[in-house]
Symmetry: C2
Subunit: 399 residues, 2 copies
């Protein structure tokens, strides 16, 4: 573990991964690296680091800072006095392996061939994202994390990290995540991958692939936000002037979707999208609880989440779910809280309500802030008994 000195200010850098970097299902990456941004100061005791795992399409740029004043995706949560308080914690955000914002992914050049990976990027699993981020933590000379925090895909990755690296984090926060995607989420993401992947594999031109990415993004948005939100914001408001022949903008809600989808397309690499989306569907925390099956297939009931949870070494865990989440239904998050709680982890489960559904952690940060800061503060506090924090919309699994 080669330690780098603690930094006083927020910085962005790339950290090399062990070379070659071995992937879960047999692939290898040569000369791979991850893009990392850190916020705050690593304490001399090196015990105040929080590792953040992101959603599918986010970068390491969680918050604006002097080196990069552009808006971050979690500006309201990462900073002095905020939920991830940079006056106290050293916050590490890693761009997921397989993504396209500085970390090695399908858009990178494979040094063995001199060609961009594209569809030849080896199969990626959520476990690989967790391993690559932990390698960054190692490179920063941090032995034990104060906590891991993850949203959406990140809310799955914290579980993979906890299972792969028991004891390397004292606390774990899963926000709008799941132990495994359900059938509807798989079906939704599968359709998105089919749209983008079929055109990519056919070598379709950029315009067609971008069109498929726009459509996939629209499906995504409709699975993120609740229908109540759309109804409140747009209802049946029509666009002006009325287009008559159905150009796709009869209604305001159509224009809004188009605006968001258009923005996304040029930001995110299609093969990264395809690769990480599939990793999400293949992730199954319960697989850590069983030996691999003879036929290599997962069968219903064959994985064991309780056994997987018993292997964890965590002081505390916090699971936050949002009732209106269509993609990661709150039942899945309640179940995660229960499984962790019953395994002996001191686990708090908090259920929030927001019309933003799966996107709530990005927009309704005031709901998440008190829950998160209180939890992070309790880690390591020498409390005589298990956490009993109660929140307006929360329930304590062990309470």
């Amino acid at each position: 573990m080669s330690a780098t000195p603690p930094e006083a200010s927020s910085t962005a850098r790339r950290l090399p991964l062990p070379n070659p970097f071995a992937l879960t299902t047999g692939g290898q990456l040569w000369g791979a690296e991850v893009a990392v941004e850190t916020y705050g100061t690593l304490a001399p005791s090196r015990d105040n680091a929080i590792l953040v795992f992101t959603g599918l399409s986010a970068s390491a740029h969680a918050a604006a800072h002097a080196g990069d004043p552009s808006p971050g995706w979690w500006d309201a949560m990462v900073g002095p006095g905020l939920a991830l308080d940079t006056d106290r914690y050293y916050v590490i955000v890693v761009n997921s392996l397989g993504s396209c914002f500085g970390s090695t992914g399908p858009k990178s050049v494979n040094p063995l061939t001199g060609q961009v990976y594209g569809g030849d990027f080896p199969e990626l699993r959520v476990e690989d994202i967790a391993r690559a981020s932990q390698a960054a933590v190692d490179a920063l000379g941090i032995d034990t994390l104060h906590a891991t925090v993850g949203c959406s895909l990140g809310g799955m990755t914290v579980l993979a990290h906890a299972a792969l690296f028991p004891g390397r984090a004292r606390g774990m926060v899963s926000i709008s995540g799941a132990m495994a995607a359900n059938a509807a989420a798989i079906a939704t993401r599968s359709l998105q991958r089919e749209m983008v992947g079929s055109l990519l594999k056919a070598g379709a031109d950029t315009a067609l692939v971008e069109q498929a990415m726009r459509w996939a993004r629209k499906i995504g948005i409709l699975s993120y936000v609740g229908s109540d939100l759309l109804e409140q914001r747009f209802g049946r408001d029509q666009t002006e002037p009325y287009s008559g022949r159905g150009s796709g903008t009869d209604f305001e809600v159509e224009s809004w979707l188009e605006h968001l989808a258009h923005k996304f397309v040029r930001q995110f690499d299609p093969w990264s999208y395809w690769t990480i989306s599939r990793a999400m569907d293949l992730f199954d925390f319960g697989a850590f609880g069983v030996a691999a099956g003879a036929d290599g297939l997962q069968h219903r009931g064959a994985t064991d989440t309780a056994a997987a949870a018993r292997r964890l070494i965590l002081e505390r865990a916090l699971v936050i779910g949002v009732r209106e989440d269509l993609l990661f239904p709150v039942e899945q998050q309640r179940e995660m809280g229960q499984v962790l709680g019953e395994s002996g982890v001191d686990c708090e489960y908090v259920e929030l309500s927001s019309a933003y559904g799966h996107d709530a952690f990005l927009t309704e940060t005031t709901l998440f802030t008190p829950v998160l800061s209180e939890f992070l503060e309790c880690i390591g506090a020498n409390t005589a008994q298990r956490s009993r924090i109660l929140h307006p919309l929360g329930t304590n699994i062990n309470g």
Copy 2:
């Protein structure tokens, strides 16, 4: 009104529409016709006819009969002793104007040009579907219908029919319909139309259009069935043999979706799909309650469903909603029942529960049968008071 003699057996035929047939927003169809199937016998008193309005993609072939023994889409509901009891009622099912199963639609040849309409088919509204079907009723020499019954789009069309032809039906049944689509349903269908329409308009080859139709259908299926159903049926079951490189069949739920979508594509005309889908989004029952706005636009709150309902002349109405319906949320159907009930219509509202969600009327017919047959029986029965029928999962709006 030219009367044809009542028929003793189920038959399929095409009935000509008034020529030209004027559409709501100014278009005209020359030589238009609708495909009609009738089941049962028209009584000498001509008062036992039930007109069925279908969902977006259904034909007039609701049930198998001697002339066409292929399965109908509502075989379990239309026949002797069934909910639409052909021993008692003369059931008329019309293929919607704009569809592609015998009625004039985008796939038809425009007699003025000798060309297939395709994208030149004039703008269609739900009101036009109601008018064309009523023209068929006129052609059959029926003055007053015992009832209209409609599911999904049909559950909107019954409202259009009731508003356009007050007193021409004694009863009305809306199943999984709405007074107007909500923002999420508009957004979903808009995306489906964009996929199919953009390729059609670009003159893309059949294979690409079929691919878009497959994708649009998958979005549709995911909006019809509840996620609980997918979870119960498929969970995370993987396909065998494991495809490894993500051909789109990692999971059973993906294969199932592909199977259904593939089946649909060759059955339904893409321009019909586009045209009727848009009609669904533009329908607004409340527009019958207000004069047209000065700017021709609908503004939030500008339509008046209560005023529209007060213009209806109906003996009884039945509104059936399904709690798990994602596309036509049960709140919308409860609201329909309330608006009708408050307008003075003797309206019963029944809420059912089925994991099949929006598709329940096609699959869970045993839930619908008692509700529907009891209601149809009460129409015209000289009850001294308003209907008080109660069902396990039902509430009486006037009760």
